[in-house]
Symmetry: C2
Subunit: 361 residues, 2 copies
């Protein structure tokens, strides 16, 4: 088992990663303060792991809530199922929520914990590669709104993140690729050495070689923890973690949440960010090609989805959270391994990038 | 103008109190960082003050949301009106919400600010006596749920609280009395000298004598700020601010929110807390009578509402947030001017208090 610490003063917490951790009752219990636990999961993960986790918590008062699976259900009415269950069980402010599942389950459980009785404890037990390397770390929680993704939410930190790499074995290949998108992102924004390691080890990762997977997860979480510790509430540097996400969110919003996986949209989005960075003269054509090749080698899309036009991007990107006082800001690459958040680009360059992405397919 | 500081590290903020402050555009603007402002108010306050406040903000991009008036509308669907308006106006993370109204407007606006794009700025401009001395200070925000009051919410601090005592002149006498309930509470829990001052000045307060009102507001906010600074998230001492509130919430939940004003329910609730404290031998019969007389002199009810039975209290009190691991804790008086939060009382003593309150009417 490997341990990383996210340093946020009195909101600090550990990330634990290793094989078989969800069957380690001692580990789970050591982060639960009271006697009331609500396991929140979805109808894909519940048949696989709910009983195993519940069994570890015998003697505590455990309830569970099984949500419908998918980003399309990351909304207020599904969130209410969690809140209603807590109230029905008369759980008090000392209760603990345990998020067992992917990013949607983690985001919704974290947000429910943030707003139930003005805040209760929660533990992240991410079961997908994407959520292990991304959404379970950093305290972003929330739900979608018809007007945009993650528009309603809170910064709220868990007591602990417990990652069992064994749970990755039940994931479809497409979900593994989606997780790899975020892993590639960490290399692109912060660590060109890690990027080179990924170029060497992509096939091992896609086939879930144990040592390679643990290395990729731990290095990804280390980078994320560093960035989050420097800027918990995304006032500045933290926004670099959104490389490719503004484009990606536009894709998800246009298609309807859940049609493309989040990681797939981010993969195509990172290709667009690299394209724009090259147009601005910040990275070379060769750098751009390395990014595209690696994203493609991970099994991710590298162009815009069929039928989506430049105007669709423009519509959806203007409500992105990185718009400040009406000016669109994007995460771009100054070089491989270094990202910046900037509004300093010619609008025409962005349009050229979008046109290229829409024509490339 | 008087100024008090609420000391919460990087979440510290000033409370400003004085006559005519809502027409001081410089003061309002000095706490607004960006260019987007959403004034949230209700259909009682809007005709009185919305235009005056909007006029002070000329040159900024100002929108307003007018909510239906009252505790009965402190729910998710009304909260969504605020969130929808922000999204429709495409307000970004640098926007500022301004709560213009009483406690319901303040609680809902603060909660909307807490969860819009994971948190934006907000300013409290409380226009009722109750919200000036209580809900606008301390960062408790939230909405009600059919299963209980304030069950969904967040601790979220404003940038500033700006109290214009001129706005109290448009309040009905019943609302003034409701505000006095919380003012009396500060004397009972923390300052017996202030309690004696209130006994001398109750008639001046009810007729809104300017000097007396400012003194009562400032002393109340000082006490609240001290308690909140010691315990922002209500892990301990802060709960003493809820003297009378567990009983009061039961009354409000039983009658349906809005039938009795919050302050009225707290008034009757403090009488019950004093009764139980006397039964436990902590305060004398004479102390108890002082509390009852002062609450009565403020124009507040001192017994349970018609038709409410002991069983109704028991039902509603078991979902109160002060239940920890299934054990009911109450705020009681060790002596006049000193409150404790305790679960150490014989259940029979509580039942006797409830029976007495139900039979006294």
């Amino acid at each position: 088992m490997q341990q990383i610490s996210v340093d946020l003063g009195d909101r600090s917490y550990p990330i634990l990663a290793g094989a078989g951790l969800i069957t380690r009752g001692d580990l789970l219990r050591s982060h639960i303060k009271g006697s009331q636990v609500c396991i929140v999961t979805d109808d894909t993960v519940a048949p696989l792991y709910l009983e195993a986790v519940s069994r570890q918590l015998e003697g505590l008062r455990v309830i569970s809530v099984v949500l419908p699976t998918g980003e399309a259900f990351k909304n207020w009415s599904v969130l209410q199922q969690i809140l209603d269950a807590l109230l029905e069980a008369r759980f008090d402010r000392k209760c603990c929520l345990l998020a067992l599942g992917g990013g949607v389950v983690g985001d919704m459980t974290g947000f429910a914990a943030a707003i139930y009785q003005r805040g209760v404890d929660f533990i992240q037990v991410p079961t997908t590669l994407l959520s292990q390397v991304d959404s379970s770390v950093g305290g972003k929680t929330g739900i979608n709104h018809p007007a945009g993704k993650n528009m309603i939410g809170a910064f709220y930190q868990p007591q602990a993140v417990i990652m069992d790499t064994d749970t990755l074995r039940t994931l479809p290949a497409r979900e593994i690729s989606a997780g790899l998108a975020e892993i590639i992102k960490y290399g692109l924004i912060r660590d060109v050495g890690f990027l080179a390691w990924l170029e060497q080890n992509m096939q091992k990762l896609r086939t879930l070689d144990a040592a390679a997977v643990i290395h990729a997860i731990v290095r990804s979480c280390e980078i994320k923890a560093e960035v989050v510790a420097a800027d918990e509430r995304e006032g500045g540097v933290r926004a670099i973690l959104n490389l490719g996400h503004t484009f990606g969110h536009a894709i998800e919003a246009h298609l309807g949440y859940g049609r493309w996986l989040h990681g797939e949209a981010v993969g195509a989005g990172m290709v667009m960010a690299a394209d724009l960075s090259r147009r601005l003269g910040w990275i070379t054509q060769q750098d751009q090609q390395r990014a595209i090749s690696l994203i493609s080698a991970a099994g991710l899309p590298v162009s815009s989805p069929e039928g989506m036009e430049v105007a669709d991007y423009q519509l959806h990107m203007s409500v992105d959270k990185k718009v400040m006082d009406g000016k669109l800001r994007l995460v771009l690459l100054k070089q491989l391994g270094e990202a910046v958040v900037t509004g300093e680009f010619a609008p025409q360059a962005l349009i050229s990038t979008l046109e290229h992405a829409c024509n490339a397919r």
